[in-house]
Each structure stands twice: as C-alpha cells, then as structure tokens.
Symmetry: C2
C-alpha cells in the first residue's frame, strides 16, 4: 500500500479548522501557564503546523488575542446565564450572577486579564470589533438582571427610568469587577472565600454603607497578602 492515502494520515497538508485550533490552544496555554506572555509560535507548534500558518487566519497577534478574548466573554456570559437559570427571585438571580462573574475571573485569571487587561485597548482607542460584540452581549446580561431586580422592587425604581437603571448597573458592575480583580491580583483574599465575599459585597451594595455594614467572613485579608514580613522600605524622590 502507498504510504499516505489509505492509512489514516496523521497530518494532512490542510488542517481543516486551524482557526479554532489556534484559539483553543491559546485557551489551553492560558489556563496552564496562567501567563499572558505566550508566543504565537507555540500555538502553532501545539496545533502541529508551521509558525506561519496562523497568519492565514489572523492578521497579527493582536487579532488572535482579540478572538481569544471574545471567546472568554462568551464563556463568562454562558456561566452567568447558567447560574441565574437556577433561581427565581430577583435577589437570588442577582447574587448568582455576581457569584458567576467573580468565579469566572478567579478560576481563570489569565483569561480574565486578557479580556480586561487592556492588551487590546491599545493606542487606536478602540477594541477590536469582535471583542466589543462579545463584551456587549455580556453587559446585556447585567442589564437584564438589574432591570429584573428593579421590576421586582429589589431596587426602588420605576422601571421606566433608564438613567437610574444605568446607575445601578454601573455600581453593580464596577463593584463586582473590582472585587474580582482584587482577588485575581491577590490584593484581597483568600480566593476560596470568593463566594462569601461576593455575597457580602452584594449585600453591602444593596443596603449601603450608611445603613449597615456587611459581614465579611473571618480569615479574609485586604491588601497585599500576609506572609513574609520585613518588607523593604521605599525611596521616592523627585
């Protein structure tokens, strides 16, 4: 028999779906190394193609990163919808969404950083369109949950006033976003308490600091993580 016709050819000249393979490899590397600094060439190696093949599917590295980031937004959105599906009351749905958002970031910090770390916001001010669409879709979920809450009188708002809804969304989003990134950066911890922390923060957000302080679980630290002490001092002049 000839060598590559009848037998299962392990590597045909054309890959078939290299676009998806490259994005998948990027997600793998991101999860494994938890570092943003992977090389395009390594993705090609993982996909079993030459170092230049990806250029037939992505204009440049930034374009590839944008595609990966977009998938990240889609994954996050899916986790958020899945989480809310299990609950009925607006309060519980909001809490579930907050949990899913924080978990999404904490469980894959590198991907979250790629999505929100501004690797794509570059100089020409705009994010790639593909990524903006995905981000827009995710934001719509926040809008729904908050509007939902407003209708359910979780928030004292006549549903019509969209400016007020926007205010609530802004607070909710920035609150959860900030908590997630502080956890990811280990400026708050430990990460295992992320569910309790997101619940505390959500409760505090709803009640307001001027009315009652939320309880945060014991063992939580805020600021640089505890551990080695005797840190060096700094010198900043001029």
């Amino acid at each position: 028999m000839t060598k590559a016709t009848t037998t299962a050819d392990p590597r045909p000249y054309h890959h078939g779906d290299l676009h998806r393979a490259i994005v998948g490899a990027a997600l793998d590397v991101l999860s494994e190394s938890q570092s943003i600094e992977f090389s395009l060439r390594e993705l090609a190696r993982r996909a079993g193609v030459s170092h230049n093949a990806p250029y037939k599917h992505f204009a440049d590295k930034r374009d590839l990163l944008a595609a990966v980031s977009a998938v990240g937004f889609e994954l996050l959105a899916k986790q958020m919808t899945d989480a809310t599906k299990e609950h009925d009351s607006p309060r519980e749905r909001l809490a579930a969404m907050a949990r899913a958002y924080v978990r999404g970031g904490v469980n894959n910090p590198a991907l979250y950083r790629l999505m929100f770390g501004g690797y794509l916001t570059g100089q020409d001010d705009g994010r790639p369109a593909i990524e903006r669409t995905a981000a827009e879709n995710m934001k719509a979920l926040l809008v729904d949950a908050i509007s939902d809450g407003a209708l359910g009188r979780l928030i004292p708002t006549a549903a019509a006033n969209s400016r007020e809804i926007d205010g609530a969304i802004l607070i909710f989003w920035s609150q959860m976003h900030g908590l997630t990134l502080l956890l990811v950066d280990r400026l708050v911890g430990p990460r295992e308490k992320m569910d309790e922390l997101s619940e505390s923060v959500l409760q505090g957000m709803l009640n307001g600091l001027a009315n009652s302080i939320p309880v945060i679980p014991p063992g939580v630290w805020i600021g640089p993580p505890p551990g080695d002490s005797n840190l060096p001092s700094l010198a900043l002049k001029g």
Copy 2:
C-alpha cells in the same frame, strides 16, 4: 585643551544614578506610548547607556517593572493624601480620596495597568516585595479614610470592630477599583465625567441601592463605547 577632561563631558563612563534614570525613562515611555510593551533596551537607549547596563541595577525585566509599579503606588498614595488634606469632614475626605484614586488610573492607564494588571503576580504567586510594600502603604490610606469615616459616624460602626471596618474597606476599594478599570478599559465612559461618576458611585455605595439610586450624569455610557455599529456576530461552539 583635550577633548573630554576640561569641557563638560556629555557622557561619563559611569552614569551616576542609572537606577532612577531607568525607572524615570520607563515612566516616560509608559505615559507617552500608553502601552505596556516597551523594551528594556529602549529604556537603556533613552538613558544613553548600553543595552546591558540596566542589568547592573535590576535582576531582570520583571524586577524593573516591579520598581516602576512601586513608584506608581507611591505616586497614587501621594495624590490621595494631597487630595484629602484639603478637606475636613469625613465625607468630603472620602470623596476626595475616591476622586484621586479614579483620576490616578484614568490619567495614566498604562501605569495603572502595570500596577494592577498582574504582570508581576506571575506564577510564583507573590508580587515582588518592593511592590508589596508600596501597595501596603497605599492601602493604609484607605483604612484611615474609612476608619475616619466610621468615627465620624459616616458609617454606623463602633470604631472597635475591625471586621466591620474591613468590610467597608473592601467595598470601598473594590468599588473604586472597578470603576477605575472600567473607565480605563473604556467599558464605561466618557472619561471626562470621571469625577461625577466617582461621586455618584460613592453616594450609591453609602446609601445602598435598596434605599436610593444615585444619579449618574447624562452622556455616560456603560459597556463597549458607542460608535461604529453593525458589529460582527460571534460563533462559539464546542
């Protein structure tokens, strides 16, 4: 006269304070290009030394980035203290600090991203010590402002309960951090409204969404910035 002894020598063999010069060059490049991806070699070029001179002052690039980040934390802390100095009431001091924090990020996104973007949080879990010290100092300012507010009955807390203070700090910090990063990422805007936005968010945080919704200024957008429409649709399978 000989050429390099009596006249003002433009470039002596030893620089004198290359450490500071390199960090300064990094801050310059960061401000100018608003991109994280600058090269160590370019900093050396700017400082007028060979591409290897910086290695006498920094173990590697990460070490240099940590030093830059530490300076960023110090600058931010300074802006925060300066801002609060002008005010007396706890409420105003807190608002001033929030404004300063958000401004710090928005006015130099690249530096803020370096500080919080996890370029240093790498795999060995810890940030460089020098940076942790600076971050710790900055956090202390938040603690003061919140404790201050608690004593001033801005927050209904007997001053002794540090767990409650921690809860308030966590909410305040993550709220401002999230707002700053959404602004920096242009997921909320426009940036010119940052002062009004931080005030709105602060007010909402104090009051609580369940009690009253803060007013956000007109013209604010949330989510991917408006502009070109007809964004492409996505495909996420498998």
